[in-house]
């Protein structure tokens, strides 16, 4: 009893939770991932606004209309905005500092998010032209990680403000 009395009173308890899922992504995301497996990037066009969404979606975010027209997009685009990460998080595998950006692919209206590398982080800027650097095709799976990162193309910057304004002009009134 002496041993027991020496113990500290209970003030907290550990209650682990583990819920397992056989998770399935949707039809739009699956279409995108299956194409990525083949090294292709797909978007879908909204019939009401003409905007091209990447990844494709079954319905338009703005109008809820079904979107059935798929569009193949190039693996290059322009940086809209970005963030430089200097902190490691719980399951983070990337070496810091790293930068990720909102990238508007040529012909697309929505931005995808991906890493920017082969460029010092302080040289990244809105309007910068970038292109994808792919893994070896033998390693391709249904994952955006088939693209290792985007890197600068070296082309002249684009006017990002104009590009974004053109996209916004298409928005459903």
């Amino acid at each position: 009893m002496n041993m027991a009395e020496a113990k500290k009173p209970v003030t907290t308890i550990k209650t682990p939770v583990a819920i397992h899922y056989d998770y399935s992504i949707g039809a739009g995301a699956s279409t995108f991932m299956r194409a990525i497996r083949e090294g292709r990037i797909l978007g879908a066009r909204c019939p009401d606004t003409g905007k091209v969404y990447v990844p494709p979606r079954l319905t338009s975010v703005e109008t809820a209309s079904p979107m059935s027209e798929l569009v193949e997009l190039p693996d290059r685009g322009v940086v809209y905005t970005y963030c430089i990460v200097n902190i490691k998080f719980y399951d983070q595998v990337l070496e810091i500092p790293y930068a990720y950006a909102y990238i508007v692919l040529d012909g697309a209206d929505s931005a995808i998010m991906h890493l920017i590398q082969e460029c010092p982080v302080d040289k990244i800027r809105p309007g910068m032209r970038v292109k994808a650097v792919w893994k070896d095709p033998a390693e391709w799976t249904e994952s955006m990680e088939n693209i290792r990162y985007f890197k600068p193309t070296g082309e002249a910057d684009l006017p990002i403000e104009t590009i974004m304004n053109e996209i916004r002009k298409k928005s459903y009134a």
Partner: protein, 352 residues
């Protein structure tokens, strides 16, 4: 009090597993269908409200993906309840009572339980200190309630089987039902128990699905719908959760909600119970004093399909749809959440 009615209802077919679409993709055509049915567009909706559970969906903010699928532009007035979507209906109803400018409201719920084991996931609704660490599953908890009924001599396992048989028989006329049929109750009682005295037929199926209901107020409802299902009363109440603190043969909160909604001592054609387990159906009949001759669960209840977090809203939709079609004049809809009928909502719907 302002008059508010359900004017349209839609749902996906109840399926054991939806293999092609995610929650938002399942929901979008249902919403499109209910709007089209009354000649409205997305923009005619003044308020949107939904119910869902992040732990069932497998990620946080799961309802946000639905907003992205429903055409929320220009920005919409919108809210969300964590849990059963019938409570989203309640929020929308309150909103319409409060704000004259809100004439049309959209309410929806959805869930894909097939991705996980729902009877174990809902264990997370229990006391996280005393109960969840033991991981009691939902069927076992319902079985403790069933045993209390048997011990009290109030009903028999045969009564439970008869409730299951009634639900499956009614489901034969429900084209969206996942389960239906005419099993022999004696044969059902020969099957093994899962958690005694409960057997498979006493439990709801695992279902993927989505549903949507449209509400409209006053003359707007009359203009959009020949025979709106007017909400004459709507109320919800909750009980203490711990099973060891409750008289499990009763559901006090169901009774109190029914009284507050004006559902007791009134004639009705139909009632739809959100009773996941057959003994709960029996308890609700008693608490709501359902008169002889009332058709209970004309849709088959949730034993034909249980799109969790939307299944209670479906009950309101099923009663309303029958009133709108002229098949019923006055009905009661019930929704629940929490173990063993802990929290209950009761609504009285009526046609003119």
């Amino acid at each position: 009090m302002r008059e508010v009615a359900i004017i349209a209802f839609g749902q996906t077919p109840n399926r054991r597993r939806e293999l092609h679409r995610n929650e938002a993709e399942m929901l979008a055509p249902v919403v499109a269908e209910v709007l089209k049915g009354v000649g409205l567009s997305r923009r005619d909706v003044d308020f949107t409200c939904s119910g869902s559970s992040d732990f069932l969906a497998g990620f946080s903010f799961s309802w946000v993906t639905a907003i992205d699928a429903l055409g929320a532009w220009p920005p919409i007035e919108e809210s969300h309840v964590e849990g059963e979507a019938a409570w989203a209906l309640y929020e929308a109803w309150v909103k319409m009572l409060c704000h004259e400018e809100i004439e049309v409201a959209l309410v929806y719920g959805f869930g894909r339980q097939s991705m996980t084991s729902p009877r174990d996931v809902v264990t997370l609704m229990n006391d996280p200190y005393l109960e969840t660490p033991l991981w009691p599953d939902a069927i076992s908890q319902a079985a403790l309630q069933a045993r209390a009924l048997l011990d009290a001599g109030l009903c028999t396992e045969r009564d439970f089987a008869d409730i299951a048989v009634r639900n499956l028989r009614h489901a034969e006329s429900n084209p969206l039902a996942q389960l239906s049929g005419r099993p022999d109750p004696d044969a059902l009682l020969e099957t093994p128990t899962i958690a005694s005295p409960l057997r498979k037929h006493d439990c709801p199926p695992i279902t993927d699905g989505a549903c949507a209901v449209l509400l409209a107020a006053g003359d707007r409802a009359r203009a959009l719908c020949k025979r709106p299902a007017w909400i004459r009363g709507l109320a919800h109440r909750i009980d203490v959760q711990a099973l060891g603190r409750r008289d499990l043969t009763r559901s006090r909160s169901a009774r109190l909600a029914a009284e507050a909604a004006g559902a007791i001592g009134t004639w009705i054609d139909i009632v739809e119970f959100h009773a996941p387990f057959t003994p709960q159906d029996w308890i609700l009949q008693r608490e709501l004093e359902i008169p002889e001759g009332t058709v209970i669960n004309p849709s088959g209840g949730i034993h034909q399909g249980n799109p969790m977090m939307g299944a209670g809203l479906v009950r309101f939709g099923e009663v309303a749809a029958r009133i709108i079609r002229g098949e019923a004049d006055r009905g009661v809809a019930h929704a629940t959440q929490g173990p063993c009928l802990q929290q209950n909502m009761v609504g009285v719907l009526e046609g003119e």
